[in-house]
Symmetry: C2
Subunit: 389 residues, 2 copies
Amino acid sequence: MKNFHFYSPTYFVFGKGKESETGSMVSRFNGTRVLLHYGTGSVVKSGLLDRVKASLSKQGIYFTELGGAVPNPRSGLVYDGIALCRKEKIDFIVAVGGGSAIDSAKAIAMGVPYEGDFWDFYSGKAICKKAVPVATILTIAAAGSEGSSSSVITHEEGNFKRGCTSEHIRPVFSILNPELTMSLPNYQTACGAVDMMAHVMERYFTNTQEVEITDRLCEGILLTVIKETPRALADAGDYASRANIMWAGMVAHNDVCGVGRDQDWSTHGLEHELSALYDVAHGAGLAVMFPAWMKYVMHHDVMRFAQFAVRVWGCEMNFQHPELTAEEGILRYENFLRSIGMPVRFSEIGAREEDIPLLVKQTGIGSGTMGSFVKLNAQDIEKIYRLAL
Amino acid sequence: MKNFHFYSPTYFVFGKGKESETGSMVSRFNGTRVLLHYGTGSVVKSGLLDRVKASLSKQGIYFTELGGAVPNPRSGLVYDGIALCRKEKIDFIVAVGGGSAIDSAKAIAMGVPYEGDFWDFYSGKAICKKAVPVATILTIAAAGSEGSSSSVITHEEGNFKRGCTSEHIRPVFSILNPELTMSLPNYQTACGAVDMMAHVMERYFTNTQEVEITDRLCEGILLTVIKETPRALADAGDYASRANIMWAGMVAHNDVCGVGRDQDWSTHGLEHELSALYDVAHGAGLAVMFPAWMKYVMHHDVMRFAQFAVRVWGCEMNFQHPELTAEEGILRYENFLRSIGMPVRFSEIGAREEDIPLLVKQTGIGSGTMGSFVKLNAQDIEKIYRLAL
């Protein structure tokens, strides 16, 4: 096991109706002037935003609003948010929504006290030294951004999608009410499941040996999502499955299942260019790319893929031919993705073979590599995109 | 799933040699005058205490010392510690040791700013409102106190052992170096494994239905401890198994595997009287009491015990007679305990049948009940003690 630091100080408030505690939680963490940042219609139409505002008003907390965060959140809105926060002397940001609103809020939070362009944090030009505190009220179980120190933003000039990690943007509190996820279309619920599974698998496929505790935690989260997602899709109002999925999404990404090991994250890199170019949902892009990545790298560590197949997918171990077990695990994963209505090939998301050279270029890989389980160069990446055709 | 709050803000520093970061971590959390609290010889003899002192001195941090914490830590030393902290104007306590030193430090931390008797927090007479910040340098993987909000102290007048829970005593940071556990006698390593498994099982056996995510996390921790403990016992210097066990002990008790469900904790209650009366190691007492408790309550929810047997102990499900699977799981657990050198009967720890009425009385149960999976009254408790004969 590698040395590590683990610090996950987010205060989680989980359960039915918990958005009514927004005001008291903001007060607890010393917020006085709040930016409410959210996406488009549903947060408003459902009445959630009104309930959050009422909770803030009850505590006498000043707030202003910025809606308009979209899936694959854009840099333009971040600049607007930074300007608004400065003008309004905002000292606390509450994101209401899914990963998009939260990641956008995190970008704004870093940008407010920073003299340069916030994009510096995403392009790797600067490291965040401080940020306005961020909290979240989660409406989509997927990204894990409610408990993570990361954010992903798409720059509108050139459709670059880039991530940034900083302890300063880990939410100080997050309110998770599973009921809020019941109104999601099945497609979005399924995309969320794919995303949280991907967060686990980016950590699971590692060259660090003998980290049994995090292996087991990873497998436990995957088994939960595999069991609960079909139930949520069959009955959108099933609280138990919604609650299990929602907490799984957090545990999948606050890094408790990833410490002590190298992590890979190349599939996220490959997917970011897909969703930036075609504006496809992140989860759908991952459903296309993850099986392709697995097929390409499987032979690097057949026994790890066999473990994945046996422990997560219930395959029988083939002791004479472990590679057949490994392949069966990948197949079952792909079949599961299909069964929950996810695309698994380029054609199903409108992606085109002729764009592959552009996709490879957009990753910015040049003559470098990405990933750690297998270090992928530009040729590898092209082959993986082709495996997804 | 039940509504819950989850807040685990401890900063964990994990890995080889990490005790050298004590000084910088104390500074990070604004400590200036430190009490170093520890147990008996080994922390001193191993040179660990000197390394910690050097790290504090390097940062220019003042410190004073109080050794002498013993297994099943005693109230007498807590009173000494409170007086010392007040005299020395201590603003930060670093516990160096296992659960005993840590729990003793937590009691001191609560007692310092409190005008009454610190025991009020353990007897239920008062609720802690503030405490001196506590940090830990862990030398025994067992109690999970390095990441938990709880503390257990034995009152010397009458040998009462009582627990207390407060967010104010959750460590602000904890340093976990698996190498420090390599010098433990096998008996203590095994006791630690039993203790962390018990922390998981107190959460696992619940009447709250369909909390799959925490079920799976619980099972993952148990599977890890079951796999890694025999390796650590066979080769005390095996870093991988030590590291897995050490982190498992934390995850077993910071409540990430227990949220959203009723928890039981009656077996800990039963054990506390055993170890208070006979001064047996807590883990050894749990090894005696947990199988007895299981045998007594199994029929309350046979399917839960069957799940435990299948998922944790690899039993084949008997679909016609699930109770046989449930029984087999308990048997395999008991066999595992024996295989790692643990006692599983009264006679093996010097406990006596004729003391059972006294043990029952000492729990303070009177005409009340304890536990939540099955609410046990005095008669039930007596029967469970007898099942351990």
